[in-house]
Assembly symmetry: C2
Homo-oligomer: 231 residues x 2
């Protein structure tokens, strides 16, 4: 039972709160039973796992938690990265909110068959908030890294200003759905190298934009069902 805040494992967990340390070590933390269970289900082996009251005093685990008090378990894992691929995948560029990155990873796991490819200026998918938002899909479907020109397939950019609706787009697989920054939208270099730009069809009096994670989810749902022959 760890009873000292100077314990090396606790120090390591605390340090992994910073992106620099995660990049340097290739490790990250998953907090909570659900995430540690998701790791096991996906065959990801922990470097170590600390359980409150079993391996460590609860207050000490709380003190190194990145997500707040009441944490009962924290595991340290190796980051895994996929290669881009699949019949339906997603490319993100400039998505800086870690919660959005994690949610898109969840959506791609549920509704697509390829990994989320993280382009320039995205949040770290292994940050605590992104890992939590992925609801464990970070283990089952690790993200990839790359640039748009490395990706094969029909590239569809989602852009609220596009003239046509995604529903009207005819595309053959493999399809790469491209999404840009929360505020700035699709970067011009991305817009120039896609095959088509489309918007999510909304009501006439609708707002001019949706959250990135919602757009990703709807797009994967729409295209995934169509590809599966339900459309």
């Amino acid at each position: 039972m760890i009873t000292s805040p100077h314990n090396e494992k606790l120090k390591e967990i605390r340090k992994l709160g910073s992106r620099r340390e995660r990049d340097r070590t290739g490790l990250f933390c998953a907090e909570g039973e659900d995430l540690v269970d998701a790791a096991t289900a996906a065959g990801a082996e922990a470097r170590f796992v600390l359980r409150a009251g079993e391996d460590v005093e609860p207050e000490l685990l709380d003190a190194v938690s990145a997500l707040g008090s009441g944490t009962r378990v924290i595991g340290v894992f190796e980051q895994r990265w996929s290669s881009p691929g699949g019949a339906l995948s997603m490319f993100l560029q400039g998505v800086r909110d870690p919660g959005n990155v994690g949610t898109v990873i969840r959506a791609a796991h549920a509704l697509g068959d390829g990994p989320v490819v993280l382009g320039p200026e995205c949040a770290d998918p292994y940050s605590p908030k992104a890992v939590r938002a992925s609801m464990g899909s970070i283990f089952a479907r690790p993200p990839a890294r790359g640039t748009l020109d490395e990706l094969a397939g029909t590239r569809i950019a989602l852009d609220p200003g596009a003239a046509i609706e995604l529903r009207e787009v005819e595309a053959s697989s493999p399809i790469v759905v491209c999404l840009g920054a929360e505020r700035e939208g699709i970067a011009s270099e991305v817009a120039e190298s896609v095959d088509v730009s489309a918007r999510i069809g909304m009501r006439p009096e609708a707002p001019d934009s949706l959250n990135v994670a919602m757009v990703a989810t709807v797009a994967l749902y729409e295209l995934g069902h169509r590809m599966a022959g339900h459309g």
Copy 2:
């Protein structure tokens, strides 16, 4: 120019960080240019607005912000509540995460035509995180309060364990989409009083659940397009 942290307006903003104060006064704060602009666009008049560097010293505004530093403007507004209605609306019960409540309010604004009806044990839609997540839709489409038995129409519960997919459900308008708690799912009293339960169709190897806000968005997209005759 406000130069004292003891200023009454600053004190009021700070107090409105608590649900108790929001419930007592019927007021709430909107932080950031985008939200204050959304209020203006929706015709919501502010009790008062404080702008950093114009009305108040920037550090003092930062100190009362509920969302972190760098806030340039905070407005105080009256809470508004809609009556339930519309051809396509959403009922939430036990959705305790304010970000999810706000995101669903955004989704309903974009993809539905009725307000989000908040049933028992939901997060306060006027909390800072919910207001931010609504991206201003809290002004354009204020939420309603109620219980499921007060709502008219075809009630469709979204439940990952349901036998049929939402895509297969035939329903006539008005439709009320019902969603339950993040973890516990649909409450049994809700499940008993809906007309049909359905799940979002996912891939065979998909995870067993999606985030509440994603489920709501996909459901509104699916049903909204079908009702508009696109389906």
